[in-house]
Symmetry: D2
Subunit: 412 residues, 4 copies
Amino acid sequence: MSALAQRFQAVRARSEALCAPLEIEDYCIQAMENASPPKWHLAHVTWFFEAFVLAPFAPGYRVFQKEFAHLFNSYYETAGTFFPRPQRGLLSRPTVKEIYRYRQHVDGALLDLLANPPQQHAADILQRVRLGIEHEIQHQELLLMDTLSNFSANPLLPAYHTPDLPAASSQPPLDWQTFSGGLIEIGHEGAEFAYDNERPRHKVWLNDFRLATRLTSNAEYLAFIEDDGYHRADLWLSDGWHTVQTQHWQAPLYWFKQGSDRMHFDLTGAHPLREDEPVSHLSYYEADAYARWAGKRLPTEAEWEHAAHAQALSGNFLDSGLYVPQPAPQPGLCQLYGELWQWTQSAYLPYPGFRPLPGTLGEYNGKFMCDQMVLRGGCCVTARDHLRASYRNFFRAADRWMFSGLRLAKDI
Amino acid sequence: MSALAQRFQAVRARSEALCAPLEIEDYCIQAMENASPPKWHLAHVTWFFEAFVLAPFAPGYRVFQKEFAHLFNSYYETAGTFFPRPQRGLLSRPTVKEIYRYRQHVDGALLDLLANPPQQHAADILQRVRLGIEHEIQHQELLLMDTLSNFSANPLLPAYHTPDLPAASSQPPLDWQTFSGGLIEIGHEGAEFAYDNERPRHKVWLNDFRLATRLTSNAEYLAFIEDDGYHRADLWLSDGWHTVQTQHWQAPLYWFKQGSDRMHFDLTGAHPLREDEPVSHLSYYEADAYARWAGKRLPTEAEWEHAAHAQALSGNFLDSGLYVPQPAPQPGLCQLYGELWQWTQSAYLPYPGFRPLPGTLGEYNGKFMCDQMVLRGGCCVTARDHLRASYRNFFRAADRWMFSGLRLAKDI
Amino acid sequence: MSALAQRFQAVRARSEALCAPLEIEDYCIQAMENASPPKWHLAHVTWFFEAFVLAPFAPGYRVFQKEFAHLFNSYYETAGTFFPRPQRGLLSRPTVKEIYRYRQHVDGALLDLLANPPQQHAADILQRVRLGIEHEIQHQELLLMDTLSNFSANPLLPAYHTPDLPAASSQPPLDWQTFSGGLIEIGHEGAEFAYDNERPRHKVWLNDFRLATRLTSNAEYLAFIEDDGYHRADLWLSDGWHTVQTQHWQAPLYWFKQGSDRMHFDLTGAHPLREDEPVSHLSYYEADAYARWAGKRLPTEAEWEHAAHAQALSGNFLDSGLYVPQPAPQPGLCQLYGELWQWTQSAYLPYPGFRPLPGTLGEYNGKFMCDQMVLRGGCCVTARDHLRASYRNFFRAADRWMFSGLRLAKDI
Amino acid sequence: MSALAQRFQAVRARSEALCAPLEIEDYCIQAMENASPPKWHLAHVTWFFEAFVLAPFAPGYRVFQKEFAHLFNSYYETAGTFFPRPQRGLLSRPTVKEIYRYRQHVDGALLDLLANPPQQHAADILQRVRLGIEHEIQHQELLLMDTLSNFSANPLLPAYHTPDLPAASSQPPLDWQTFSGGLIEIGHEGAEFAYDNERPRHKVWLNDFRLATRLTSNAEYLAFIEDDGYHRADLWLSDGWHTVQTQHWQAPLYWFKQGSDRMHFDLTGAHPLREDEPVSHLSYYEADAYARWAGKRLPTEAEWEHAAHAQALSGNFLDSGLYVPQPAPQPGLCQLYGELWQWTQSAYLPYPGFRPLPGTLGEYNGKFMCDQMVLRGGCCVTARDHLRASYRNFFRAADRWMFSGLRLAKDI
């Protein structure tokens, strides 16, 4: 079996393994419009292979159920209609069992196709299967984010799992590393897989800058809260202040109080806030306000990529099975990858000369290039081999349900 | 075993039997704010017995899980907090299995209590168990209404069940029966069970009036549609016209078109509109507009009760197992009970001298006496022994997800 | 000149006199959707005469400006389109000056027509002019209600006028008057003007009942507030409690606090709350909650009318020029008319045998007979000769910007 | 009198001259939340001088009316509370006449202060007066934008003025001019006035690029509409497509149809669409979709500034008194300044090393650096001496009520 087919099987299996702790009921719910029910994720990633690989390229492929195209298309306007996103949690049918049968059906057909691809489409098939695999990994992260969101809406606060977390050891103090700027290059180049939005590689001028050696911790963020951070308009962007007021934000998402104790809810359930853990589930507004309060700023995506390029791609990823960010392991620059996505002060915009993928798959990334901010680095629910220094994640400035944190930067 | 205990067991068992056609996934969803997930109904009616019978009166009763009071209280402000109604579909836990265990726990304790009630509370216990049983029957109706609503939100249009319906036979033409008015009485009197809102029996003056012998049919309502009924402002109440415009109503709920065919969705799935079936899932606005178009009016609740009092309590109820309204079986006054709730032109208000039940149970009916209209008669998903001539149901003028229909009236 | 023409002139002049204290700017604003800018009222009542009298019946009448039909039609669906109500405050043109010219144009034509009505339409003309006059008086009341609402949205809290109010004298204690029920009649009968919704006169059965001799005062209502009335769910209708929570009501509309002082804003500006003044600007929810707290109830409209029929139509009306309700002048039943509209517990529904006016004018009253409650008696900004014992006013249960108060009732 | 005092007087006088065509009523209205009533603009710019110059620096200055701080503060959180923006149109008081008195009061005090500034604050005073003048010029543009918006909400479609427009002459075809990139600099440098957001001057790498020689015209944009541009999802950003669908956009703001004729509403009233006029009142979404349809893109702000730096600051500004954009006067690069603000594909973000003004005035620009796009060049209602090549304007991607147009760019 080809390496690609093996990777396909491994990733498909991991999606299902990530659902092992779920009850049937947990697969169905959608606690916020931006999230989706786990069973929808399982079906959507399957439809992706069906619609973009099997239907066009597998001779004689039989579509599993034609209504699924409408139910499990996410947002591809040029691929047909789609069921409204905010209502995904209203679909009790197809059942979870039927969706697993759908997965089997598509897996079989796809492995057959990979074993014996029609010559004239072989290149397209490989490229799209590769994309479909990365796409499914993205949805594995979403599935865990969304499960956390779903569980947080339940007063019973269920735990997704209860792993043995590494014993707490005291974290090194936050320090600064200096980087030389100049006319550098960022973006992806070469034949290896990368999303269209990471290309083309291009020149950027950077002033010299400094980055914090590690992510900001819960303890550090708590100092901001206790200094009235959520009540001082001068620290916030105008939109951020409006959001704080109208949403009554007092702390990051998933923090709560039990009496006077600060508690935190994550995939391991509810527990007292861990001081050295990197502060997570921050909006851009909060990351930006914290940086302003600290007299610093957030890095740009070019600064971040310039710094990360020289670093090993190591950290705490989905692969560790913890699904909880960990304190910095040592002094010196660390936590660039894994743990938490890091907000940058860069808007998500096309690189100079950007070309989206042709056809429907051009909708994958390009049409979201407005009113979103870039995050970099991956997190504790991202698979390690999904990441690169040039990887660009993006969310709305007010979003907080993803595993987002912050690293400070400053001018020299 | 006492008759009450037997009735308790039978009603509890019927709730579970009504869920037999459901998949686990179907128990969890809530397609509209006014509805609730089936599993919530199963738990709420159980909490009702726990909170109002077992907790106060069963010596040594152990509450099954203390958080359930918050999760499964519906709207009893004086009984504690309650989880927000629009979010009931976000609770994957407790699972369906746990809710069935909850039911067993409460059933056991309640039967023990009924077998051996503490002397000084015996009267209260019997009264509240009786109320709890009627309450559970109401939720059996809601469970079916809500399941229909849930399934209708799914493009797959699942059928709840597929019974053999009676063969269609042609329905008698609509005729009129005359009633003499005068100083009559309505409302419930006597020791038998009735809700507080049906009391006290009181005098009402009625002019002579006529009632249609049967409910209005789909074919008759279709004539209103085809006469542009949904596009003529002069036929509608102001609020109704506003609703038609903003909700883009073109037909009763659950009607749809397949090409040029008129289709109907009900608990048996989707099928071509049946002409002789009474028109169902109407709002008050639609019932009122139809009556105006027809040059008639809706009956008052006093007229309806006056007419119904003399009639046998017969018709097509939950007991028939069809869950679909049936055409009029014969000429002459019929369909007063069963088939469909019948909109009256009476607002849901307290009868002269009305006294709500004491304490928390006073919230059962009285606090809703504003901006609702009365419906009478019961429907095809109401249990026969739940009904009486004095029974008052009530909904908002814009509501349509209950089994509501219309009977015309006119002055003489 | 005929009596009708004289009355027409007097009423038209009073509309303009009521605007004398307004700046041009005050004519234009609309602080809430339900209200309208004063200049819109001036134009709308004029359009009413133009559309329903001059256009159909005045030979050779020249419409002043054809676009006004769209701008100043309020809600007559069958008379053409109308500009959206919530946007009436966005129309700077026509200017106030142009609207006064419009009034002159219509006044001239109407007086000419009244002087010399075409024989075959004389009856229609007289009937519609009479209706148009009553309609304009209603809008005089609305103009003052709306001006109060407009001014209350301005932190400068401007006073509409500053009359010399009667010196405060201590008010008699609240007492009870007993009424015998039986089979009585309510509703208007005879040739004198009354709205269609007051007809036909019809029989109603009443139990014996008691009415409070006067309206509830600010001091009495304050006791309810201080007894935590706005924080006890058991006192409120379900919709009322929801409104209290979501609107953060803590007191009647136009009450506010200055430090710890209770203040009140009315057409005379802001001033300390006057204890003996009848409590005003109450919603139905508040009136109902107060009555429940007091262990009493609100009267039905039939009880009210039965009691009022025997009383002289006297009190403090628009005619006094105060525009502020006054304390009860003496012991014994009083304040039935004038001062404040009195909430009843009756829904606004058609009387048995109700027939709306024919044609477009049938939209005047009938289409609002849903989800509104009846108020009786008139208020300090209603003209005395506009009122009758059978007069039915109606508002939504949550409305508070009209001059509404409450009189208690109880069973015997 | 100093040059600054003369400029102050001239700019203050121009604000009032711009209001000459307004009726009192026109000063008061606010047809959309983003806009403000003209009288609010007149008062707000006056408060700016009072709060930031006179109150801190003018010995013995008497505040005109203390409530104005609350009413006329726009968004300066650190300067105190402010009246909610969406309700500015609800304030009939202070009257227009009082606001003109307020202006006189402040003008007198400010000229006195400029004539004799306290030595130790002279630099601050000059800097802030300069800022206040530029601020007032910005509000002159807003006043005209908002008046157009206000008038467009009125079915009477009033004209603000009716100037003699230059005779139409045929416009040169759109051509392309090539620019060499490299490591260039943008941003403001030096002592002359510029906003904080234009600083510091900094290096940017640019690839070679081409710019269209003129703005896109109505005729060109019409071709996009007629090619179904508003109905093809593939041409739009995701947010843009959502906006098109939910707002039912079919054309730029202020276009409408009269029968089959394309009409346009502007400050001169309604008239048939002028083909050669640059297309105006476009959102970013529309500008971006048009560029994608044309196979081109929008320029970045660095490209635009690089190109503009070499151009004379000429065009059709507020100074011309037309307030309507004009066709391109000649072949070759033109229309960089004046006519219409030009959308760039750059997000409004801080330049590297950006420092906001100290204190409250730091809220002027910096807190809006999120979810806005940059526009460049000025428009026909911007004063010429307000502009610079480095000037950054910014609006939300969905905004259309400003004078916004588009210039195409392309890669080489």
